[in-house]
Symmetry: C2
Amino acid sequence: MIRLVPSILALAAGCWSAAAAADTLVDNIQGVTIDEDGRIDNFTGLVIGDDGRIREVLDRRDKRPRDIDFQVDGDGRFVIPGMIDSHLHVMGLGFAALTLDLSDTNSLEEAQARIADYAAANPGRRWIIGRGWNQVKWGLDRFPTAAELDAAVADRPVWLERVDGHAGWANSEAMRLAGVGAATADPAGGRIDRVAGTREPAGVFVDAATELVASKVPVPRPGDRDLALRKAQDILLRMGVTAVADMGTTIDDWQSYRRAGDGGWLKVRIMAYASGTNAMELIGGPAPSPWLYRDKLRLNGVKIYLDGALGSRGAWLKQPYADDPGNTGLPLLTGSQLRNLMSRAALDRFQVAVHAIGDAANAEVLAAVEELSDTYAGDRRWRIEHAQIVDPADIAKFGEHGIVASMQPVHQTSDRLMAEARLDSARLEGAYAWRSIADAGATLVFGSDAPVESPDPFAGLAAAFTRRDADGQPFAGWHPEEAVSRERALSAFTSDGAFAGFAEGRFGRLVEGEWADFVMIDRDPLLATPDELRAARVLETWVGGERYYSAAEARESAETRAQAR
Amino acid sequence: MIRLVPSILALAAGCWSAAAAADTLVDNIQGVTIDEDGRIDNFTGLVIGDDGRIREVLDRRDKRPRDIDFQVDGDGRFVIPGMIDSHLHVMGLGFAALTLDLSDTNSLEEAQARIADYAAANPGRRWIIGRGWNQVKWGLDRFPTAAELDAAVADRPVWLERVDGHAGWANSEAMRLAGVGAATADPAGGRIDRVAGTREPAGVFVDAATELVASKVPVPRPGDRDLALRKAQDILLRMGVTAVADMGTTIDDWQSYRRAGDGGWLKVRIMAYASGTNAMELIGGPAPSPWLYRDKLRLNGVKIYLDGALGSRGAWLKQPYADDPGNTGLPLLTGSQLRNLMSRAALDRFQVAVHAIGDAANAEVLAAVEELSDTYAGDRRWRIEHAQIVDPADIAKFGEHGIVASMQPVHQTSDRLMAEARLDSARLEGAYAWRSIADAGATLVFGSDAPVESPDPFAGLAAAFTRRDADGQPFAGWHPEEAVSRERALSAFTSDGAFAGFAEGRFGRLVEGEWADFVMIDRDPLLATPDELRAARVLETWVGGERYYSAAEARESAETRAQAR
C-alpha cells in the first residue's frame, strides 16, 4: 500500500517556504532512467530533498538514509522520468477540452449531429467554436462544405478547426460576418476552397486563409484562458507528462503561464517557443527569459512556420502531390523571409524552431541553417519541427550544426493511409524517418503535436518502436526500418527532450541534482508488449518533488462526488 | 560616520535566500512618520528584520536589541518614509533621460540649437526623438512650426513631444513619412495645427492627432526599454522616491518591470495602472495581479484619459478658454464610453484612475462615479488624476464614494501664469484646490507627473504648503488658502499614497511590520524653510531593508572614475 505523502510546499508568490519542506524517500520501486550514453540505468529507490530535487538514487544494495521525513512505499511499481512532450500547443489542448471536440467523429453525418447537439446544449454561446474534424477519417475525399454545416447550425456563426490546425470550416453565417465572398482573393500563404466552377467560397479555408474568419471569432476572456491552462495541465499530468515544449506561445498564453506561476498552480514545466519574432521580442525582450518558478517556465525561442500540413495539402513538396497534380503545397515564407526571421532570433540568442513538413520545406530550412551557422556559431540547437517528409538525399544534413529533429510518432500511425495517398513510394522512404534522421546524427526528440493528437506519451512510445497503430496495423510495421529502439524512444521522450530545450541537468533524468520529476506506472515500459504499453496506467505523477497526480486519489474523489449526488 | 551595511539579500529569480539575510539596527536618527490619524510620530532608531521589514521602531528611551547583525550610525540624520509618487510615467521618465530633453530650454532659438547639436552628435539615429518643449516657457504665444524645426534638422524625421505629452512637434520629413497633408482630417479627440488660412499641417499635433506621426516612430528595442527602466529607477532613488503609481502601463512596460523583478533589479515599487482596458486585460487577466517580488510590483487597475491638458488647450472646460473663445477643449471619450470603460474595469475589481484636468471633465467623472457606485459597491477607491480645474460647486462631491484625488503640487507652481491666461478668476478658485478637495473628504495624494515635471518630491512638498515656486513667487503664495499643512503634504507623499494604491500596511509608514522603505536626508522636513526644503539632500534611500542609494558611495564612484581617466 502506498502511504500518502502530505501535500507540502506552499508556493506563495514564487517564493518557497523552507520550513514546510521535507526529505522524502520513495522506496521499493523498479526505476528506469537513461544515462548520458543513452543506456538504461535501474534503481529501486529515490531520495527527494526538501528542495524538490533528487538527493540520491538508490539501487538494491544501497543503504537507505535515516534522516527522512516522509516515506512512500512504491510496492514494486515502475518508475520512469517524467515524460517530456517536445511539440504541442498547451492552450490549444486546454481550449480543445473546453470546446466542441470532433476528433473522434467517424463520418460527416456523425459530426453534423454532434455539432447540432452542442449548439442546442449551449444556447448562450454566440459563436459555436470547435476543432478536430478530419475529412480523411470520415472517408470523405473532399472538404466538407458550408451548406453541410448550415444543416447542423444555421442561426449562429460556426467555426471549426481541422484536426491539424491548418484549415477551418465555416458555415454561411460565419462567412457572412467575415465578409468573404466570390470577390475575396486567396491571401498569400492561404487558399479559400471554392464551389466547383465558381469563385464562391465553399466553406473551408486553408492555412493563411483561416485568418479571414478566425479574426472575427471573439477572443477568449482571460478567465477562460486560465481555465484552459488548468485543464491542459490536468490532462498532461494524468498522462504522465511533466514537461512540454509549447510551439507558438502568444503573449496572452505567456500571461496565463505567468499567472499560474505567480499563483503557485503552474505544475507542468513549459519551454515556450513564441509565436513569431514579434511575440518573441515582446515576451522575452532582449534575450530568452531566465528559468522561472524553479525551472517551470522559460521563453526559449521562436516558432516559425515554413509550410502547412500534409492532410490539407499545405505541406511544401519538391514534386506535386500524387493525388493533386500541379499542387506542390504552400511555402508560407520566401527564403529571404525565413532567413531574416531566423537571424533576428539568433542575433539575440533565441533558439529557433521551424515547422517543416514537406520535403521542399525541410530542404529549405536545412539550407538556411547551413548558411546561418557561420554567422550564428556556437551551441544553437536549431530545431526542425515535424521533419515529416524528407528527401532521402537530404537526411544526412540533419546530422550537422547540432540540429534537433522534433518528431511525433503518432503522426505516422495516424497518417499513414493519407500519406500513401499524398505521396508515391519513393517519397515515402523519407517519411517519418526517425531512425535514419537519428542515425544521421541529429538529436531526435518526440512529442505529440497535441491537440492534433492526444498527448498520451505511451501511444507515442509504442508507435516509435513498432511503426504499428493501436489496432496493430500494419502487422509488420509501416516502413519498419524506421522504427527506433525502446531505449531511444524513451530517451527521446525524456532526457533528449530536456536537451532540446536547453534544460539538460535540470530535468529529464532521474539523477542526483535534477528535479524529482517522475511517473509511477503499473508495468515495465521496456518489457511490456506494445499493446500492454499502450494500456499502461499512470498511477502517480510527480514534478519537483510534489505529487501532482494520483490515480487513487482521483478515483476516490470521483466516488465521493458520485455518492454526494 | 555612517558604518556601511554590507549589501545583503541576493534576490535570485524572485526567491530570497534566508541564509544571507541579517537584522540591522539603524540608530541615532531623527525619524518621522505619519500615524493612522495623520499625526507625526518621532523615533530615533529602526530595527530592520532579516526579511527586510521593520521589526521595531525605537524612541529615545527604548532599549536597543542585542541580536543585531549590522548597525548603522545615523549620526543624527533625519529619516522619513520612502516617498511615494502617486502619478508618474516610469518609462517616460527613463526614456526622457536617454533622449533629447528640451525641458530646460527658454526660447525657440535655444531649442533649435539644442536639437541641431543633438542630431549632429547622433548621426546614426534614423529619427531624432525628444521631449519637454513648452512654448509658454519660450514666451511664444503660438505653437512652433515644422519649418522652424526644419531649420534645425531637415535631413531626418524629427518628432518632439510637448512637455505635458499632449502635443507633438514634427518637421517636414516626419510629416512626409507619416503621410499627413492638407487632406488629412483631424482625428476624433485630436487636432492638427494648420497654417493660418490653409489646411496645411503647420507642424504641431494635439492629443489624438499625435498618433498620426508617433505611429511611424520606430519602437524602442527591448534592451533600450530595460535601460530606460534602470535609468528611471536611478533617478527616483536618488531623489528619495521608493514607490510610484505608473499611470499608463503598456504590456511592453510591464514586461520590462517583470524582467527587472525576475532579474533582481526591480528596486522601486511600481503600482501599475494599465494604459486602457485592453492592456489591463492583457496584463492582469481576470483580475488585478497579486503583489509580486515582495510587494515591488502589482497591476492595480486601469488609467483612462478623459481630456487633454491645459497648456495645449485640450483640457475639457464647461466654458470656453479665456484666451480662446469658442474652444472648450477636447473630451476624449463620450459619457457612455467613459462609463463603459470604468464598468469593464470595476467588473473585475480593477481600480479605476481617470485623468480629468478641466472642470467639465471633473464633473463628468464625478457623475460617472456616482452612477456606478451602486452597481460597483465596496472599497473601490476611484481615483481622479490631476483634478486640476474643478468647478467650486463640484468640490463637495470629491468627498463621496471614497474618491482619491491624485494631484501634483509642482503643476500649480509651474503652470500658474499659464493657468491665469487660460482661465478667468472665478474658475481659478477651483484650480489646484488641494485643501478644499481634501477638506471635502477625498483622500489627497501627491505626485509629480514625471517626466512632465521633475520627480523631486521635496519640490512637491515645498509647493504643497507654500503655493510658491522655487523663486518664491508669488510672495504670499498663489491662492494660498489652498495650501495644505506640512503634515498633510508629507502624508500625501507617503502613507496616503500607499492607501491610494491598496498598499496600506505594506509600505508608506515606518511602523512594525511594514517594509523598511526610508530616506535619510540632511535636514528636518517639518522645520526647514521652503527654500531649505527644496535644497534637501538625499543621503541614503532604502527599500525593503536594502540600501539602494547612497550619496557618499555615488560620490566616491564618480571620483574613482574621474581619477581613472
